[in-house]
């Protein structure tokens, strides 16, 4: 593949535009960016529209846009679980998170760890939250880079070596610089551009590609029959049905526990902003569902059999399906727009994730354990520096370590992050709950979930649970968080009694 000059020019021009936007964002809704909640939460002033763009840009990432159709392209119907998943997240967002917003707003919490620290008075539990959040987010940032790498490679840049990685390194230096100066304002503003480009790309794809391929009927009839539907369960197993349902349900419960989602939620200006967005964010889900279908369009177009794309598929696997489909279907200048949409789509979540990690590190590790007396300015400065370190770490991670590790770690990340659910829910809906019992639940849930993934060689998060003579394959995150809840509830009365007899005041 040689470098596509037209596409690359459009791509670079759009990239320069958002770079400029990222730096200008520092002056948007001007405030003192040397205070953490201004730098890291945009001053908690984002209304319904900005929050819509911010959360949309944050949750529907470049990796999603590459990986979901890649999954449908490779595995068929099972990959479509992303759709019921995004349907189920919104009732959860509507019910739970305005409540959390209210507490966080009243008490000045910047992170979920701040909330449990304050709510349960437990530094140990807050530490568990901070570490889980950071560890689960790092591979997620790394995967955004994978998304960028695929489109940069598809533009025809030479793959591999220092020169091959140069465009990626340059983009991340730019990203790091404007995140440092503008904080959460930068991705919030860039998200508007990103989503506009994504919407344009998807609508164009849905008009042009099916017309070329002879309509949806022709597209679906070219999909192999075994991919079109989930294989019905047989024998004593719930088979793919329970796997599909639990993947959707578990992912939905896990999503808003991620630090970057929490940052998006806490930066909104009111609980009603969150409630309204629980309805309006569905627009992105719909786009995601349509993007998933691009996987089938790639099958129908036969891009994997075209010699021109053989090198791309060899290098990036099924992740190359959508870029190849765009290259085969669009004129060069529009390929530039579509690829820029994906690359900028990586910048937005990567920025928010690094800010969220920086918030966690600064508030809950640095300030809590190392410099309890640090000033507001020190706190903000530290967070800015950590956001740089996090991004450098993610780039090194992806360049130095095989990509499959990042994917496996992200899979584990989902299992780890869902373990934060019991303390959040019980913190919001009970008057009091024993912190040590919650900590024990977290330990048990994390251990069981990790062990379940280990039995699958860390390649699948679906664990075949054997119970009462039947096999129920299900998402390990969901099984392990049930263990977490059970342990917490079982130990709470015991720890409460120990606490009382030890003479300490009941917390």
């Amino acid at each position: 593949m040689s470098l596509d000059l037209t596409a690359t020019s459009v791509f670079v021009a759009l990239f320069l535009f958002v770079t400029w936007l990222g730096f200008v964002a520092a002056h948007w809704r001007k405030a003192d960016l040397n205070v953490l909640h201004e730098w890291g939460l945009g001053g908690r002033r984002f209304g319904t529209v900005v929050t819509w763009f911010l959360l949309g840009g944050d949750l529907y990432t470049a990796y999603t846009f590459i990986a979901v159709p890649a999954l449908v392209f490779g595995k068929g119907a099972m990959g479509f679980f992303a759709v019921p998943y995004t349907i189920l997240i919104y009732p959860i967002l509507y019910i739970v998170f305005p409540r959390l917003w209210r507490v966080a707003h009243a008490r000045g919490h910047v992170t979920a760890a701040d909330f449990v620290r304050d709510r349960f008075g437990s530094r140990l539990l807050a530490l568990a939250f901070a570490l889980t959040g950071i560890v689960a987010t790092m591979p997620y940032i790394a995967l955004q880079i994978v998304g960028m790498e695929v489109v940069i490679g598809a533009l025809g840049f030479p793959a591999g070596g220092f020169v091959g990685h140069l465009p990626l390194i340059i983009s991340f230096v730019i990203l790091a610089a404007f995140t440092y100066t503008s904080g959460l304002r930068a991705p919030a503003l860039i998200a508007v551009v990103k989503d506009t480009l994504i919407f344009i790309t998807v609508f164009a794809a849905l008009v042009i590609i099916p017309a070329k391929l002879g309509g949806y009927g022709a597209i679906f009839s070219s999909v192999p029959e075994e991919k079109l539907l989930l294989p019905p369960p047989s024998g004593d197993s719930f088979g793919s049905y329970s796997a599909y349902a639990t993947l959707a349900l578990g992912s939905a419960f896990a999503l808003f526990l991620y630090p970057h989602a929490m940052t998006g939620i806490l930066s909104s200006s009111s609980g009603n902003v969150i409630r309204r967005n629980a309805a309006f964010l569905a627009a992105y889900s719909f786009i995601l569902g349509l993007i998933a279908l691009l996987g089938y369009m790639a099958i129908a177009a036969g891009v994997d059999k075209e010699p021109a794309f053989a090198a791309g598929f060899a290098q990036y696997g099924p992740n190359f399906a959508v870029p190849a489909l765009f290259l085969a279907s669009f004129p060069s200048w529009f390929v530039g727009i579509a690829f820029a949409a994906i690359a900028i789509g990586a910048l937005v979540p990567a920025a928010i994730m690094s800010i969220a990690c920086a918030n966690l590190f600064t508030r809950n590790l640095y300030k809590e354990f190392y410099r309890p007396d640090c000033s507001d300015a020190d706190e903000a400065r530290m967070a800015k520096i950590v956001s740089l370190v996090v991004k450098i770490g993610a780039v090194v991670f992806i360049l130095a370590i095989p990509q499959s590790y990042a994917i496996q770690l992200q899979l584990l990340g989902g299992i780890w992050i869902i373990q934060l659910l019991p303390p959040i829910l019980l913190g919001l809906y009970t008057i009091r709950f024993n912190a040590m019992a919650l900590f024990a639940g977290w330990v048990a849930g994390t251990a069981v979930g990790t062990a379940m993934a280990a039995t699958q060689g860390f390649t699948s998060s679906v664990f075949p649970l054997q119970a009462l003579g039947v096999t129920i394959p299900g998402y390990a995150a969901l099984y392990s968080v049930l263990v977490n809840f059970l342990v917490a509830f079982a130990l709470a009365p015991i720890f409460d009694r120990i606490g009382r007899t030890a003479g300490s005041p009941a917390r």
Partner: protein, 91 residues
């Protein structure tokens, strides 16, 4: 009067029971794992779930609308100064 408080919260939040519908629909996988009837060439499995995205969003809007109506008409004053069991007030 904790009993009264509980009752008023149930009154205000009953529309949220509607959220059980998308959960039931999406988790009952065998109800939609089929190709017929097709819609514009798209098998049932796919268009049904895509349609549920819109239905789910519609449900959230309905719940939001009813809830804000209830709070505005009957409990306007109570809502803001609500001394309920919400941790924001406990902490």
């Amino acid at each position: 009067m904790p009993g009264g408080k509980k009752k008023s919260r149930l009154l205000r939040h009953w529309p949220r029971l509607l959220f059980l519908i998308p959960f039931a629909a999406m988790l009952w996988v065998s109800s939609y794992n089929r190709t017929a009837p097709e819609l514009g060439g798209i098998p049932f499995f796919y268009w049904y779930q895509l349609a549920w995205i819109l239905a789910g969003a519609g449900l959230v809007l309905i719940v939001y609308w009813i809830e804000s109506k209830i709070t505005h008409t009957t409990e306007e004053a109570q809502e803001e100064a609500e001394p309920s069991g919400v941790p924001g007030d406990i902490l």
